[in-house]
Subunit: 289 residues, 2 copies
């Protein structure tokens, strides 16, 4: 079995590396070839296009940027679906649109392909340590077929339902994070404004009902003035946009998500698009930075 | 040393009970006397008014409802401050206004009293198990003097600063919870609307960056249709009101808190004031219930 990997960013590089380490033959494609060099040095085979990658491999994993990138790589003239061998497995691990995931699964099915959506959470650290949470949408049999491969990458792998269910689960993840980021940020700016020591406040509140991953992991970065990404503001805005679109499609009002998206847009407009999500703090701390 | 306790609700009963269990002489006052009967049966001494309670005790702990109750019990004609013996310690553990806490501390100081604000988090379970987080505002020496008493009630006891700092810290706690409640609720209604199994979604998302106390502890109650309080909607609205007022005082905009307060008000108007905060789910699930 030959594994293809398209999308060699921070996440993709770690993930493809783990698959290589397990002894699989791995072929790679990336829009910017230089980013794949390290994997090639470790034995990966370069392919010039998604189509060539598809033609050479039995399972193709994608870890791309935006839904339009996914659409292009899967359905473009030189894309995966037109060139994949019948019976191939295509696994999109990009956080992308649930609707697009369903559409790709249908198109794939028409050509005898098995298409799954399998976005992840856990970030660069999770990718590096192979501890990703992987949320899968697709057919049960297809899930079972690719599970050994997914187990190389993650530690919490759940088939959430049919095509698109993985993406919808990831949207739930982002929706929960979105409002919580507002909450923890507001709590900390309140603490500072009230003349409290925010680190002492954390000590009182992080172990109780206010406790959360963001409070314990991102607030200390805010307070240390560390706004480097972890998770990019621009990517979070992308994800929230997908979730809002998908919610609108279902006639579902999500006022918290809407507020979060508008605040993060404001933050990006203020020049923080390439910072980490904890930079939300800057909207209060120094909006004109 | 005789300990007075005013406010024998669900929380107060457990707390006063722990102090009794440690062998202290405990005197009690409550607006509704019958609620104190169980403590009296266990050896507590009844007092007919806050003033009488103050006159009989060396340390008085209060666990009341609203800031106006605190103001009345402390400063009313038959209140604690007018009747407390010089050198007494008055500890208000109600979640109340930071401004009021500062005012009471000043008034107390003028009469040779030591007034501390010491709101808690951890709820009825924390009170029962003496595992409360206690956030204290007051003078260092006063804090040290009452610490042995507080240690009977809680496990995470932090002096956050001068008078009002305890209340401000509790506000930070409620601010963080407020937006997070929106986030976890929106995540779950999205999951259901998208046709996912929300309990399976929890399994994918609760261990990662979306993880929080509310997600793991309150969402399962939502899904089981259990809307009994834990923490009352009406009390949460009270707390958010105090936080908004205090933020306005500091000229601090908290759009997430504002949104949460408006949603919970809507929920209370729909008849859920006496349910637990997880009833926020009902705003989406069946707004006309």
């Amino acid at each position: 079995m030959i594994v293809g990997f398209a999308g060699i960013g921070v996440m993709g590089k770690s993930m493809a590396g783990h698959i290589l380490d397990k002894g699989y033959e791995v072929h790679v494609y990336n829009r910017t070839p230089s980013k794949a060099q390290e994997l090639i040095d470790r034995g990966a085979v370069w392919q010039d296009s998604p189509g060539q990658l598809a033609a050479a491999c039995d399972v193709i994993v994608t870890m791309l940027g935006y839904p339009q990138d996914v659409e292009q790589v899967y359905t473009g003239e030189d894309g995966l679906i037109p060139h994949a061998k019948a019976g191939s497995y295509l696994i999109d691990m990009t956080t992308s649109s649930p609707l697009l995931a369903r559409r790709l699964a249908e198109q794939g099915q028409g050509k005898g392909l098995h298409v799954l959506d399998a976005p992840v959470s856990g970030g660069d650290v999770g990718a590096k340590n192979a501890k990703l949470s992987i949320m899968v949408g697709g057919e049960q049999a297809d899930f079972e077929a690719v599970l050994p491969l997914l187990e190389i990458l993650g530690s919490n792998i759940v088939l959430q339902g049919g095509p698109g269910a993985g993406q919808n689960t990831k949207m739930c993840n982002q929706i929960a994070i979105a409002s919580n980021m507002i909450g923890v940020t507001e709590a900390i700016v309140y603490a500072e404004k009230a003349g409290l020591d925010p680190k002492k406040v954390l000590k009182s509140i992080e172990t109780g009902a206010a406790g959360s991953f963001s409070l314990s992991n991102l607030v200390p970065r805010m307070l240390d003035g560390d706004f480097e990404p972890g998770f990019y503001v621009k990517h979070f805005i992308k994800d929230m946009g997908i979730a809002l679109e998908s919610a609108a499609e279902m006639k579902l009002e999500l006022p918290g998500l809407k507020l979060a998206e508008s605040l993060y847009r404001k933050l990006a407009d203020a020049g923080y698009a390439d910072k980490g999500t904890q930079a939300l703090y800057k909207l209060w701390a120094d909006p004109k930075d």
